[in-house]
């Protein structure tokens, strides 16, 4: 800058530079600022939504983590579930709330509502794994309400392979209810193998298998 001799000349140079470049520089800053502000506003809105869902969900967890629920707690939990599903429909919160709804219905001895809740999760969720889990639980409910055929159909739908051990276990129960002992045995055996492979132990599977009796040990 030594070649710029006087202060006036320097000032003049700066003014000239600003005249040539100022507008575009300002434009750049304004565009960026507008973009960032807009983005932040959108993020804020989303964060607010998410926070509301999170608070409700956390409250719900606090309630259902207790062993026994009073009537008013049950009502409060159901209200929270309704709010989460209605206001935050596409989120994982909504899916999980739907699963919890089924469990509350079971605790209330209302298996029909439990089936409806799981059916809704299966319909509405975009997450394959959650759908698989809901199907597995739905099949158990169908079996318990005297409809093994429906349970069989549910288990025939797509269920994540990481849940295969549990699926085979429930399938064995379904076959047993249909008096298909040989299929039940095969299913239980498969469940045991899968449980070992997947590292997901199943409680009581050996009992079920033993009770079917094995011909190998007979004389």
């Amino acid at each position: 800058m030594a070649e710029l001799r006087t202060e006036e000349e320097q000032l003049e140079a700066i003014k000239r530079w600003w005249k040539e470049n100022g507008m575009s520089l300002i434009a750049g800053v304004v565009i960026a600022a507008a973009g960032v502000l807009g983005w932040n506003a959108w993020k804020d809105y989303q964060a607010n939504q998410a926070e509301a869902a999170s608070m409700r969900y956390q409250q719900l967890l606090n309630i259902v983590s207790q062993n026994e629920l009073e009537a008013d707690e049950l009502a409060q939990a159901q209200e929270l579930i309704g709010a989460i599903i209605d206001d935050h429909g596409k989120t994982l919160y909504a899916d999980l709330a739907g699963l919890v709804e089924a469990r509350l219905a079971v605790a209330d001895n209302d298996l029909t509502s439990a089936k409806t809740a799981l059916g809704d999760v299966i319909k509405s969720t975009s997450r394959e794994y959650i759908r698989s889990l809901a199907r597995l639980r739905l099949a158990r409910l169908q079996l318990a309400t005297g409809d093994p055929e429906a349970a069989l159909a549910t288990l025939d739908e797509n269920i994540a392979s990481s849940l295969a051990a549990q699926r085979a276990d429930v399938l064995g129960d379904v076959y047993l209810a249909l008096d298909r002992d040989e299929d039940a045995r095969k299913s239980y055996q498969q469940a045991m193998t899968l449980a070992e492979e997947l590292g997901q132990p199943l409680y009581g599977i050996q009992l079920k298998l033993d009770n079917l009796g094995t011909q190998e040990a007979t004389l």
Binding site: L25, I31, S54, R127, S161, A217, L219
Partner: protein, 606 residues
């Protein structure tokens, strides 16, 4: 680069880009841009495109080591485990983020305030405790909040999966029924004496068995190793340590040993001037010199009300509590000596050491020797390790390296990949021996860090492939196996004959052992294998029992199952069983989600 930016900055486009960068720096800070341009170099893995950096892994490894849960020599295994965990965590975080899980600052505050780790004795949140605990765990408040946030998000997911599970009344009923079922049966054990003639084994049968079960008589791939070890402890043992060094080590330790002290304190503000206080203590010094007792004088002169009546006793002290002047005096005294007058913030003191917690020199001799020797060989150890690294890399053999470094050249017997003993069984050794550089190319191994104090280099002296052992070598083993198997077959045959006779209505030619209404759990002297089979036989129909057999070592048991009954209800036991079943299902629901995410994810290890 700057010049080219200046040249191009004449265009509109470039000006807008510069404007954007200016704005970005103003709004997000320079970090954002720096981070943007430097990412990617330090990644150890990518999970669906999201990086896991070396620093992340290191940080967790250091945390685990500092927490004392992991010995440093397992660092490599730990690093792998940490990386796996980080991948898992990253998958879950992506899942929860995509699912819109989120925790607000207020929710985090609530959690932080409620954590017992950050609460004082009164159960109140303490800011100081919070900062100290975080600092010692290597967190800043910001990074801790972030870690807590993702952790809570994962918890929300996991709890949702777990708490939403249920056990249906019918399932509970069925599980209970099976669990409390009882069975009544009889059994009889047949052994070798029940056979008419002992089993005979022909040479042809042995050969046939040997050939059919060749896999059981394999010898794995094996190597013979030569190796050298540089061992700091061994070097220390051989090092010469002179008496003078031991003495000074002892003194250093004695200087810092805990000691019990008494003091006489005279304060000097307000009523008494400093000179008066000093005069008062000089009086005490005179009376001490005249042979009077320190404790008695403490009672008479000391202004420290809490100790004056205890003979001035302050108890056992270690460094770091009483201020420099006091400690300098106290830690330079021997037992029974009294210090000159010492000044502290509290006033003037005379200090006496009454007990010293220091074993004698002879008692400590061995310990001191190790300590001195270890620190003396430190440099030499490092130099030798460096020479070992250089020379073993350059040399075509290990003998010259051993001679040059003055190390013993060890030779091993044949060892297989999983079969080393003693030092050869330590982690990393057989991996090195069977690495392609060492096994196939015949090089010296890299220097193996067994632990802080030992380094090893090995090479393969001899190698043999896996092979089936010759029949002659294993004939005895084969014989034993064939005998057992034939005896079992013969006993089983006998069992069939006996059962068939029973079915024909003949009286049993043997005595039954009875087991009435036995449950799965109830303790009794029934052999476990018999009970297991009794519970696996089909339910008897009508009066006819169901016959079965169980193998007990070399013997065979005949079992007659008479009845299957539903046992007594045990509410408590069944409640526990249901809980177990639920917990396992909940764990499986979480585990299966992880497996599902892993199977669908793109995981790149770099």
């Amino acid at each position: 680069m700057l010049q080219s930016i200046r040249d191009r900055s004449k265009s509109w486009g470039a000006k807008i880009i510069i404007g954007l960068m200016v704005a970005a720096m103003a709004l997000f800070g320079a970090d954002a841009l720096v981070g943007f341009f430097t990412s990617g170099e330090n990644d150890v893995a990518k999970v669906n495109g999201q990086s896991i950096t070396r620093q992340q892994v290191e940080l967790e490894v250091q945390r685990a080591i500092r927490s004392g849960q992991v010995p440093p020599d397992q660092e490599r295994a730990l690093r792998n485990q940490v990386l796996n965990e980080l991948i898992t965590v990253s998958l879950l975080d992506q899942y929860t983020d995509d699912g819109g899980l989120h925790l607000s600052e207020e929710q985090l505050d609530q959690v932080i305030v409620s954590l017992p780790e950050f609460q004082d004795q009164n159960g109140r949140f303490s800011q100081d405790l919070f900062r100290n605990r975080l600092a010692s765990a290597g967190y800043t408040p910001m990074s801790f909040r972030q870690a807590l946030r993702v952790d809570m998000q994962r918890q929300q997911l996991q709890q949702g999966l777990a708490f939403s599970d249920f056990t249906l009344p019918s399932e509970r009923e069925r599980l209970g029924e099976l669990q409390r079922q009882t069975r009544s049966f009889r059994y009889h054990i047949l052994s070798a004496e029940d056979l008419e003639a002992p089993v005979e084994v022909s040479e042809a049968e042995l050969k046939a068995y040997y050939e059919a079960n060749a896999q059981d008589y394999r010898r794995p791939e094996q190597v013979r190793l030569k190796y050298v070890v540089v061992d700091r402890l061994q070097m220390a043992e051989q090092a010469e340590v002179d008496e003078q060094a031991l003495r000074s080590a002892y003194e250093r330790r004695a200087d810092n040993a805990e000691r019990r002290v008494s003091h006489i304190m005279v304060t000097f503000d307000g009523e008494r001037s400093r000179e008066e206080a000093r005069a008062r203590l000089e009086e005490v010094q005179e009376r001490l010199a005249a042979g009077e007792d320190f404790a008695t004088l403490a009672a008479e002169y000391s202004d420290d009300a809490s100790t004056a009546d205890e003979g001035g006793d302050l108890g056992v002290i270690s460094r770091g509590f009483f201020g420099d002047a006091f400690e300098e005096a106290a830690f330079s005294l021997d037992v029974g000596q009294v210090s000159p007058i010492v000044e502290t913030d509290n006033g003037l003191h005379l200090i006496e050491v009454t007990e010293l917690d220091m074993p004698s020199f002879e008692e400590l001799r061995d310990e001191l020797r190790d300590e001195v020797a270890l620190s003396a060989v430190g440099d030499e150890f490092n130099q030798r390790v460096q020479r070992l690294i250089d020379e073993s890399f350059a040399a075509d053999d290990l003998k010259s390296v051993a001679e040059s470094l003055g190390l013993e050249l060890h030779e091993s017997d044949w060892v297989s990949r999983d079969g080393g003993e003693a030092i050869l069984a330590e982690p990393g050794v057989m991996d090195a021996a069977f690495s392609s550089d060492v096994l196939e190319d015949g090089f010296n191994s890299e220097v193996i860090e067994l632990d802080e104090d030992r380094r090893m280099v090995l090479r393969v002296a001899d190698h043999r492939e896996a092979a089936v052992l010759d029949f002659a070598v294993v004939r005895d083993q084969v014989m034993a196996a064939v005998k057992v198997s034939k005896q079992r077959d013969a006993l089983l045959e006998l069992a069939r004959a006996r059962v068939s006779a029973l079915r024909d209505g003949e009286a049993p030619a043997f005595e039954w052992q009875r087991a009435d209404s036995v449950s799965r759990q109830s303790g009794s002297d029934i052999p476990p294998a018999v009970r297991r089979v009794a519970f696996r036989l089909p339910h008897p129909q009508g009066d006819e029992p169901v016959y079965g057999h169980a193998t007990l070592g070399n013997d065979v048991a005949i079992i007659a199952l008479d009845a299957v009954d539903s046992g007594d209800v045990d509410e408590q036991y069944e409640g526990i069983a249901v809980q177990m079943a639920e917990r396992l299902r909940a764990q499986a629901a979480i585990q299966a989600l992880l497996d599902d995410l892993r199977s669908k994810a793109e995981i790149e290890r770099l």
